[in-house]
Symmetry: D2
Subunit: 139 residues, 4 copies
């Protein structure tokens, strides 16, 4: 699958002259949405039927090298783990083939009323099977 690319914008820099660190968290999100869209799962379709997948955690976020406006960032997204309730994603960001960022996000699945959803044969079967497949592939 083709990786995602983000062009760093002027408004994403701060007075240190480099990308403000909060923006990498936003790029994780845009790359994740793109990753699932390329697999055939449009996150907005899920929200339209009242299913949300909020970020419940961020782990091992490492800012290794700075970036700035004009840089094109390649973002490599992978499923790290999945157990029907919690999905963990892993991200590597590169600038000219050098890793500048690594990190992980954790997600659950909830209904509009906040009730937790367990994916499986009854609920979102095709996404469930794809996530199982993606985690097995990594083993």
């Amino acid at each position: 699958m083709e990786n995602y690319y983000h062009n760093v914008q002027y408004y994403e820099t701060d007075k240190m002259g480099v990308t403000h660190h909060s923006n990498y968290i936003r790029w994780m999100e845009e790359a994740r949405i793109d990753f699932f869209k390329k697999l055939g799962f449009d996150y907005l379709d899920f929200e339209n039927v009242g299913v949300f997948s909020p970020v419940v955690g961020l782990n091992n976020i490492r800012y290794k090298k700075p970036s700035t406006v004009g840089d094109c960032i390649e973002i490599i997204v992978n499923v790290k783990s999945y157990n029907r309730l919690i999905l963990e994603m892993h991200y590597i960001m590169k600038k000219e083939n050098t890793i500048i960022f690594e990190g992980e996000s954790s997600h659950c699945f909830i209904k509009e009323n906040g009730k937790i959803i367990k994916l499986g044969d009854e609920n979102f079967k095709s996404l469930h099977e794809k996530l199982l497949e993606l985690t097995n592939k990594d083993e």
Copy 2:
């Protein structure tokens, strides 16, 4: 009525070392919501009953002096005009008593379905009367 104050944050600066210009548009919003709250009209109460007041225009935005992290910005909000359909607000921002920014925003009132609402005796009477009072005061 007491003016609103915003403390400029590090993440609001850009690589020029000053506040990115898009943030003043955000501060207009936070000062406007505060202005109406102090008058007894909590914007969130309106949204909770399905009434929204989106920004339809920005006019005469003037960036006169820069600001940066650590600065405390005083924001003076006024109603510029109101005609039941369109509300125009005016903003002055000061840093240590010097005007650094001036601008205006225009707003309409809509229902969740996008249908335009005309304020008046039947619709949001108390807000309608307050807005009339505030525009008369300015004459």
Copy 3:
């Protein structure tokens, strides 16, 4: 010249479910930088030699239709006027060929110390001549 495209991101939406209005101001900037880059003038090259072109004003900003995450926004940039001291840019944003936004930004040229620069035969001649050419074209 090819227009610029921006894909609306989830983090650009607000609780109204649509793009927060401050983001269009940011997209004006990214489309403007792209516009000059395609003409051969990389804004970052100017900043690297200590020349900045801050936004001094925004005019006639009109939010005509909402957009949201997943939308692809086409941004058409033009030079509206130029007189060696002030550059005015005009922007039209379209979603599926419908105009959703229009607006203008004004810019001056300054040195790192804040001193105003007048473009011309002595200063940034090639940019000066290109800007003259672009404003004549519009007449």
Copy 4:
């Protein structure tokens, strides 16, 4: 020491109706700068003499409960560890006395040229001693 408070803004929400998760990372920064300022160390004074303390990592970020516009968030900041090269900070965020967020950030100290600084008797002695004192206090 008095804790820091952040009032959630409309522009910080997303289409899920709650604060976008990237903003908590920004609030960590504003609360951290406030924490050191209250201790007598203004981060901007350090930057003015060419010393920067970038975020090199984020760990154990936990989004426990959502927040939204109108909420007032109390942010409790502590020094988690310090070894002259790396400073780790810990954050708890509360809404009406309920913990809604917890997380950690790691920082190094660098000069404008990117060279790493080791704090100590020769370099920034008073900050060094304060950080030692703060980590001992936690033991």
